[in-house]
């Protein structure tokens, strides 16, 4: 894999631009396939947009964009239509699918609901989710020159196979550290196959064709340097990256006093420059929903707003509003427990599971630790991707809330899952190692604050 760095030490912004230029250049070179690995918040969708615009507006080609979900397709379509008002785009969805209101007002965004409504020939950019592409009638339109798969690490290979032949050239863009494709059924038959149908398509492609051109984005635009220090070694040991922002450029500060709260020491730590802190409640095996923890998360959100928190980001200073807060949980039951506690005026706090938070960001994030209150540590809760998503959604600061004793739990439940001959990947062990790494680094850096 080529990590795009330079002999001279360029600024992170220069590194980011060089990386994008290198990706765009692969299309001029006619590379049949490119795998682009990206750390969190590195501007993946921006690269997807630029690849599509270059294909349509510069090279006069036909470009198809494949996303994993409808929501992702809506987001890409909105960004393209609003960012490039002089170009025309087509959103391809199934018949009867309700579209969000924000997509209705673009004069340069057509909606195709049937294969025959997709531009039959000539330059075009058509956006659809992978399933829609798969079920479309390819005889109704000319083949595409370029296929860009966004969030490719969420797309299992068996779904990619159904659309791979739709274009001459392919670019697979994704974050290798996030949650792998969700395949609920039994997969033992293919488990030893590194290019099995359940494997994320960029990994399967490289397993099948090791000479695939690999590039990586070297800069995270979202994460601050302090967070990168924790996230990169734990979740991306093979993908070095830096933060675009300078140390101290993004900050949280409070402006007014409020009644003292047990969460104040954690807020003070963040005000002093920490971007990742962990609040620890007294140890307790609580089961899936820990009501005290849900209370703490809501109390933290309220206290931040009550103390007149301000966020400095990209040269702007903004007063913290509930809409700038996100809460990420492991389970839907935890999401509901937090939501039902949110007081009036806090409806805009975005509370979701890690799976649904992929691709999203907020200035301030609150995280319900997936291992908190558990008596054991199974593969779902150890999953590195799930924790990585939770700890990499913030632009300024992230508060992790959990029960004390997570490190002890991890040491008690060292992974014992089956090893599979023929496969180097052991997700349970990788998750366990990442969890232990994060926990120890936070402790060593004095980022663990007991809640009293």
């Amino acid at each position: 894999m080529t990590v795009l760095t330079a002999a001279t030490q360029p600024s992170p912004a220069e590194m980011a631009d060089r990386a994008v230029r290198a990706v765009l250049r692969t299309q001029w070179d006619g590379e049949p396939v490119v795998r682009l690995d990206s750390p969190p918040g590195a501007g993946k969708t921006g690269v997807v947009e630029r690849l599509a615009v270059q294909s349509l507006g510069v090279l006069g080609e036909r470009c198809m964009i494949a996303t994993m979900t409808n929501e992702q397709a809506f987001d890409v379509a909105r960004r393209l239509a609003s960012g490039y008002p002089r170009l025309d785009f087509t959103l391809f969805v199934r018949d009867g699918l309700a579209l969000p209101d924000h997509l209705m007002g673009f004069g340069n965004l057509a909606v195709a609901r049937r294969s025959r409504e997709v531009p039959a020939s000539g330059p075009a950019v058509v956006i659809a989710n992978a399933a829609r592409w798969s079920w479309s009638d390819a005889t109704q339109f000319a083949p595409f020159d370029l296929q860009v798969v966004d969030e490719a690490f969420q797309l299992p290979d068996h779904r990619f196979q159904q659309i791979a032949a739709r274009a001459r050239r392919l670019v697979l863009v994704g974050d290798p550290g996030q949650i792998p494709p969700v395949v609920a059924c039994e997969i033992e038959r293919w488990q030893a196959d590194p290019a099995g149908p359940h494997v994320a398509c960029p990994k399967a492609l490289v397993a099948r064709h090791p000479t695939v051109r690999r590039l990586a984005l070297p800069v995270s635009r979202r994460l601050v340097p302090d967070t990168v220090r924790f996230i990169q070694p734990a979740f991306y040991p093979e993908l070095p990256f830096r933060a675009l922002s300078a140390p101290g450029e993004r900050r949280l500060s409070t402006t007014c006093p409020a009644p003292a709260s047990p969460v104040d020491p954690a807020i003070a730590l963040v005000e002093r420059g920490a971007s990742l802190v962990q609040l620890e409640s007294p140890p307790l095996v609580s089961g899936e929903v820990d009501e005290d923890l849900a209370d703490t998360l809501v109390a933290l959100a309220r206290q931040l707003v009550a103390r007149g928190a301000q966020v400095r980001d990209s040269g702007q200073v903004l007063s913290l509003t509930p809409g700038m807060l996100g809460v990420v949980c492991a389970h839907v039951a935890q999401v509901n427990a937090v939501r039902e506690r949110l007081p009036r005026g806090f409806e805009d706090v975005f509370v979701e599971t890690a799976d649904r938070f992929q691709g999203l960001e907020r200035p301030i994030m609150l995280v319900y630790h997936p291992l908190s209150g558990r008596a054991d540590a199974d593969q779902f809760h150890l999953d590195a991707g799930r924790l990585c998503v939770a700890l990499s959604r913030h632009r300024v600061a992230c508060f992790v809330v959990g029960r004390a004793g997570i490190e002890e739990l991890l040491l008690r439940y060292a992974p014992t899952g089956e090893r599979v001959l023929g496969s180097d990947e052991d997700r349970e062990y990788a998750g366990w190692r990442a969890q232990v790494g994060i926990a120890q680094r936070l402790r060593a850096a004095g980022r663990c604050v007991p809640l009293r």
Binding site: L24, L59, A184, P197, A333
Partner: protein, 485 residues
């Protein structure tokens, strides 16, 4: 949350010293022509059958035994005899348009058959042994697929319908599970379970039995064979081995038969979709023998290529979804679990309203107010009414206020078929109902979509790069793109 329901049932079972029913409907078909098969392997020889008891439901077993399964020819003879019997049975099932169903005692026995099938279906020495491996492969290949009826483990079938007062992993011992379901009078259940666990119920005999009883008998046979003893002597040694093993395998056979009898006697009405599950099994069996070429002697693949894997995974995903929906809607306990887990949305209709948006188009909306603690519902989800799938709604808004969730719903289909909804009605919605025809549509689609294998999924070199322009690429392609903003 449905796991909470399981936990509650287990706690009740523990308190009462008796298994608790956890299903309102029978979720497993008991095929009248099914066979109960109980194989025992020799310790350390996972691809052997030392003795096997096989018979019809409610009937006596046929017992086949070899004195030393490490001896290839007698072992192959055993496989061939079993295979010849099964070939007739499979052919009968096919002629009757049904499917062969095997019952084994536990997951361990099923795994043993799986290993055997993998090993034997590529046998190059004996076509009859290979054929047995292929027949076995049908059942073992279906095992991982949700809702399959081809290979049923007695422990699994009982666990679907009863909760015991022990850990789920301990439910893999058939004798222990039966002790929970039918605890002997006057004996504390834990003692009954402990006693039951002394009897092997999987695919292996007890190590102490192996050491002290079986090994001397097998050694006596092999020594006699090596020394060229007459047939009568060898037969006597072989009979001694069988006499030692037969009680063990017959106890497993009897317990498996007992499990089936318990299930039959439970009086559970069959799941509404159970005939559909059986029809699916019959269709899969026909597909196995005909479409996949067993009739023509085509070999089963050891590994799947990308296309076969895509078909296989699609089948498994569809089965999981369809069988899951069938149980969720057809079994009252499963539905209660679905409500707890938020997979079934239950609420009261409020503010139904119809708005004419065009001369011939009316949009019907209403709110559903739910007090469920957990809901798996998000904006733009489509739900259908649990009891009448014709009514479909689109979730336009989800508002959580304290313990109450208010869903704003728009009718998508069914306003004429089902009728308009009135305020105060209590309704249940689910993500989908079982669609038994979907898999044929999916397979038809895959057949078209994967007709030509893309180069990305073909081994070999990558296609050569083909520059898109004859001129060199620009120095700054990013600037060209940004200029288009």
């Amino acid at each position: 949350m449905s796991t909470n329901l399981d936990l509650l049932a287990r706690l009740l079972a523990y308190r009462d010293g008796r298994a608790q029913r956890r299903a309102s409907h029978c979720q497993v078909a008991i095929h009248p022509e099914a066979r109960v098969v109980c194989p025992l392997a020799m310790a350390g020889e996972d691809t052997t059958i030392h003795i096997v008891a096989c018979g019809p439901i409610g009937g006596p077993p046929r017992v086949l035994c070899v004195p030393d399964p490490r001896k290839r020819d007698p072992q192959f003879d055993l496989f061939a005899r079993l295979g010849a019997d099964w070939a007739r049975w499979f052919e009968g099932c096919r002629r009757a348009g049904t499917y062969p169903q095997l019952w084994v005692s536990s997951g361990a026995a099923a795994s043993h058959l799986d290993v055997l099938a993998d090993r034997l279906r590529y046998n190059r020495l004996r076509p009859d042994v290979k054929r047995f491996g292929e027949l076995l492969s049908y059942a073992t290949g279906r095992l991982p697929i949700a809702g399959q009826q081809a290979l049923i483990t007695a422990t699994g079938a009982l666990a679907r319908h009863w909760a015991t007062g022990q850990q789920a992993g301990e439910d893999e011992h058939l004798g222990a599970v039966l002790a929970w379901i039918e605890p002997p009078a006057g004996v504390p259940v834990m003692e009954a379970v402990a006693a039951a666990e002394l009897e092997p119920m999987g695919a292996k005999t007890d190590p102490a039995f192996d050491e002290h009883t079986l090994e001397p008998l097998v050694r006596a046979y092999t020594d006699a064979a090596r020394s060229g003893a007459p047939t009568a002597v060898l037969d006597r040694h072989a009979a001694n081995v069988q006499a030692a093993l037969e009680p063990v395998v017959l106890r497993i056979y009897a317990a498996t038969q007992r499990a089936i009898a318990v299930l039959q006697a439970a009086g559970l009405p069959p799941l509404l979709d159970l005939p559909a599950l059986e029809a699916r099994e019959a269709a899969e069996f026909e597909s196995f023998v005909r479409v996949l070429g067993r009739d023509r002697g085509w070999p089963l693949a050891l590994r799947d290529g990308p296309k076969a894997a895509a078909f296989g995974l699609a089948t498994r995903e569809d089965a999981l979804q369809t069988a899951g929906a069938a149980v969720l809607l057809g079994d009252r306990v499963a539905r209660a679990g679905g409500r707890l887990a938020g997979r079934v949305v239950v609420g009261t209709v409020e503010s139904p309203a119809s708005v004419r948006v065009a001369p011939y188009r009316v949009v019907h909306r209403f709110e559903l107010v739910s007090r469920q603690p957990v809901l798996h519902v998000r904006v733009r989800d489509e739900l259908c009414r649990a009891d009448d799938g014709r009514l479909r709604v689109l979730v336009e808004r989800v508002q959580r206020r304290g313990a109450e969730t208010r869903l704003s719903l728009r009718l998508v289909t069914g306003q004429r078929a089902v009728g308009l909804l009135a305020a105060g009605m209590e309704l249940e919605f689910v993500a989908g109902r079982p669609n038994w025809d979907a898999i044929w549509r999916v397979r038809g689609h895959l057949k078209t979509a994967l007709a030509a294998r893309p180069w990305t999924h073909t081994p070999g070199a990558l296609p050569a790069p083909t520059p898109v322009a004859t001129t060199p690429p620009p120095a700054d392609p990013l600037a060209l793109v940004e200029a288009l903003r």
